[in-house]
């Protein structure tokens, strides 16, 4: 146990989990409310509007589908990275987490092309209520992807030095980063049908 911050590599006697993990779940609870506010906004805007485009008329479904598959795959490689650490296979951890980061970047590149196509057709956030909520929700989700890349990039690179000094704490950090990453995947699982398919 670290002398400075207690219960970062062993469970807290009261909660039964490390402080880092509990803190991550509290953060995710606030994230549920953040995206919940936007989803409820979407419902109110859509039910209150006189006309609303079908997602499949204005968005590129194949691109959205590919991005869904990419994000799901990155979630699997994320959990496999954690499992590799637990099986003491540091090389595999690097491979899986590296794949997660790579797939996250591919997701953003595809998103960039989607946005570019929208701008080309003069669909901007201020063009219609639909595009206002589309850009707000996918934009906020995209910022979360960037945040994940930064954290995962740190854990893959300089942060991975901790594996030698304190493997338990390092595995805990990867687990918490994973929880966040799965949440980002989870939000997309709802965003995709709501914005693209309905």
């Amino acid at each position: 146990m670290s002398a400075l911050i207690p219960y970062i590599d062993e469970p807290h006697p009261v909660t039964g989990v490390t402080n880092g993990k509990f803190g991550t779940w509290l953060f995710l609870a606030s994230e549920v409310m953040l995206f919940g506010a936007l989803f409820s906004t979407y419902i109110i805007l859509r039910t209150g509007s006189t006309s609303w485009p079908h997602g499949y008329e204005v968005l590129n479904i194949p691109m959205g589908t590919v991005n869904t598959v990419i994000l799901i795959t990155s979630s699997v490689t994320m959990v496999l990275a954690w499992a590799s650490l637990k099986m003491n296979q540091f090389g595999k951890f690097k491979l899986f987490l590296g794949t997660t980061i790579l797939l996250s970047c591919v997701f953003l590149v595809i998103k960039y092309f989607e946005y570019a196509a929208k701008f080309q057709h003069e669909h901007y956030p201020w063009s219609s209520t639909y595009f206002a909520i589309y850009f707000t929700m996918t934009g906020l989700h995209g910022i979360h992807i960037i945040g994940g890349i930064v954290v995962n990039g740190y854990l893959w690179g300089p942060g991975s030095k901790m594996w030698k000094a304190n493997p338990e704490q390092f595995a805990g950090r990867v687990e918490c980063a994973g929880l966040y990453w799965h949440f980002v995947d989870l939000v997309w699982i709802f965003l995709f049908p709501v914005l693209y398919l309905l």
């Binding site: 009261v14 909660t15 039964g16 989990v17 993990k21 509990f22 779940w25 509290l26 609870a29 549920v32 409310m33 919940g36 506010a37 989803f39 409820s40 419902i43 109110i44 039910t47 209150g48 499949y56 479904i61 589908t65 869904t68 598959v69 799901i72 795959t73 979630s75 699997v76 994320m78 959990v79 496999l80 499992a83 637990k86 099986m87 003491n88 994973g178 929880l179 799965h182 949440f183 995947d185 989870l186 699982i189 709802f190 995709f192 049908p193 709501v194 693209y196 398919l197 309905l198």
Partner: protein, 93 residues
């Protein structure tokens, strides 16, 4: 999650791969349904059902909620109440 010995983790890895297969399958299903162009009510119901199943798979297995400590369930339960309240507001506007 309990069971962190290398042997147990190996079993988990098999589960992760199976869940991955199920998630890809459900993605194909939800996109397939959208091409049928069902009436709005049915389309919304089906799409949200499939999305909820996918979200459950991710949270239960990848986020290890199938086997978590009470404090985490408590935190999420409380969040759930607030979330349902927030969503129910939309019914009255």
């Amino acid at each position: 999650m309990s069971g962190h010995s290398p042997e147990e983790i190996k079993k988990h890895v098999k589960t992760y791969i199976m869940v991955f297969g199920a998630l890809i399958f459900l993605t194909i299903v939800t996109v397939g349904i959208s091409y049928i162009h069902l009436p709005v009510e049915q389309a919304v119901l089906l799409a949200l059902t499939v999305a909820t199943i996918k979200a459950s798979l991710v949270s239960l297995f990848f986020m290890h909620l199938s086997n978590e400590k009470k404090i985490i369930y408590g935190t999420l339960g409380l969040t759930g109440i607030f979330f349902v309240f927030l969503m129910s507001i939309t019914l009255y506007l």
